[in-house]
């Protein structure tokens, strides 16, 4: 699931994690807002990738543009000192179905 983090203090190598959208309505406004709210708590750059298209994980409009419905596979990426923690929390949102359903 996770690519290896580069060692030491140099975290220029982003971490990735694959997630699947399992909540029924997909990433609509509310989940997107929850994702962005969580993502902005971390200083790492967050990216969300769907079929080759990457958007900024701290941008609601970006996330909405992906139109990631139920069953969509996404790859989250994080680059920064708190990347690992960010990915853990963000991935948990997907597992928790964004508190929906």
């Amino acid at each position: 699931m996770k690519s290896s983090a580069s060692g030491g203090d140099d975290h220029r190598q982003p971490l990735n994690r694959d997630v699947v959208v399992i909540n029924k309505q997909g990433i609509h406004a509310r989940p997107a807002a929850l994702f962005v709210k969580t993502a902005t708590r971390f200083e790492s750059e967050i990216g969300v990738k769907k079929e080759g298209e990457v958007v900024n994980g701290k941008s609601i409009i970006g996330l909405l543009m992906l139109a990631a419905g139920q069953g969509t596979k996404l790859t989250l990426s994080a680059n920064g000192r708190d990347a690992d923690k960010a990915l853990t929390e963000l991935a948990k949102l997907f597992d928790d179905k964004f508190n929906e359903d």
Partner: protein, 320 residues
């Protein structure tokens, strides 16, 4: 800041006379000793039936308005009978009596008003007009009202009450809105009251009307600086905007799908909180918030409409 609210239970005939005497053209003809009498209902009554001797369901607590019909009826009676009817009427302790159309009350009416201490007024207005105006005025006198710490502006017909802690930039924001051609209702201290039990209306205290205090500049007379087009005496509150220090805000709205309300005097008014941080053009944000509110009142919620379309699209893609 005073922010007690109170629904008025009663006003005295004197308060009514002082507040509206000029507009209604009231002249006190008799019964001055009874000016402390209390009006307890926010409307008027035509006492025709009462004068005819029918006192069941007599709305004695209201302002009693007499017009040509009552005058003609009383005139049809003998002097003694007339006096007796007037006495019966006054025994019910009505708060005050107004004759419309400048009708001069009969001698009996004047004497009994003095005897019973019931204020007797005369107004030049036609009966219908008098009733309408007096009812509106009473409605306002009795309306729940309070003072809000906030600046009230009118943005393209949308009344926006800008709230926030002192020094957060309410007045500067209003100033920038005035420069864009919108108008000011009141700065910093806004009086609100409920009209018709439905609309929350805002106006400014008489003393500080159209005055603005801007840090570093002092008091500004908006009417003189920006012209009469920049002021408005009264406006319905359609939106409450709270300017908040971005650092202290816990929950910053990012989508705007959940409409939030703030209750003022029992009326739920749409509310948005705008985070303030250096370099944000607050006036612009408040302006857009007002326009977006206009869309919502027209039945269009941008966030919701977009989201419904998005969910529909994702659903059909998932199927296909």
């Amino acid at each position: 800041m005073e922010s007690k609210s109170s629904a008025v239970k009663a006003i005295t005939a004197e308060e009514f006379y002082t507040a509206h005497g000029r507009q209604l053209g009231l002249k006190l003809e008799a019964g001055a000793a009874g000016l402390r009498r209390k009006i307890r209902e926010a409307t008027v009554n035509r006492p025709g039936l009462a004068l005819a001797g029918f006192f069941r369901y007599f709305a004695w607590a209201r302002v009693q308005v007499l017009g040509s019909a009552e005058k003609a009826y009383l005139k049809s009676l003998s002097s003694d009978e007339r006096r007796r009817r007037i006495q019966e009427f006054f025994k019910r302790r009505v708060p005050c009596v107004i004759f419309s159309r400048n009708i001069l009350p009969s001698r009996e009416f004047m004497e009994e008003a003095d005897a019973f201490h019931i204020p007797l007024f005369r107004s030049p207005l036609l009966t219908g007009r008098l009733i309408n105006s007096a009812t509106l005025m009473l409605d306002m006198d009795f309306a729940p009202k309070k003072t809000e710490h906030g600046t009230m502006v009118d943005i393209l017909g949308i009344g926006v009450l800008i709230k926030g802690e002192s020094g957060v930039g309410k007045s500067e924001c209003a100033l920038a809105l005035l420069e864009r051609g919108y108008s000011l209702v009141s700065d910093d201290v806004t009086r609100v009251y409920v009209l018709d039990g439905r609309d929350l209306m805002a106006t400014s205290p008489e003393e500080t009307r159209y005055l603005m205090e801007v840090r570093g500049l002092g008091l500004i007379d908006v009417c003189r600086v920006f012209g009469v087009g920049a002021i408005r005496s009264e406006k319905r509150v359609d939106l409450v905007v709270t300017l908040q220090d971005a650092q202290k805000m816990e929950n910053i709205e990012r989508v705007g799908m959940d409409e939030e309300f703030q209750e003022i005097l029992g009326i739920a008014v749409p509310h948005v909180g705008i985070p303030v941080s250096p370099g944000r053009d607050l006036a612009r944000l408040v302006e857009v918030a007002a326009l977006d509110q206009k869309l919502k009142t027209m039945g269009y919620n941008t966030a919701k409409e977009f989201n419904d379309r998005l969910i529909e699209r994702m659903r059909s893609e998932a199927k296909g």
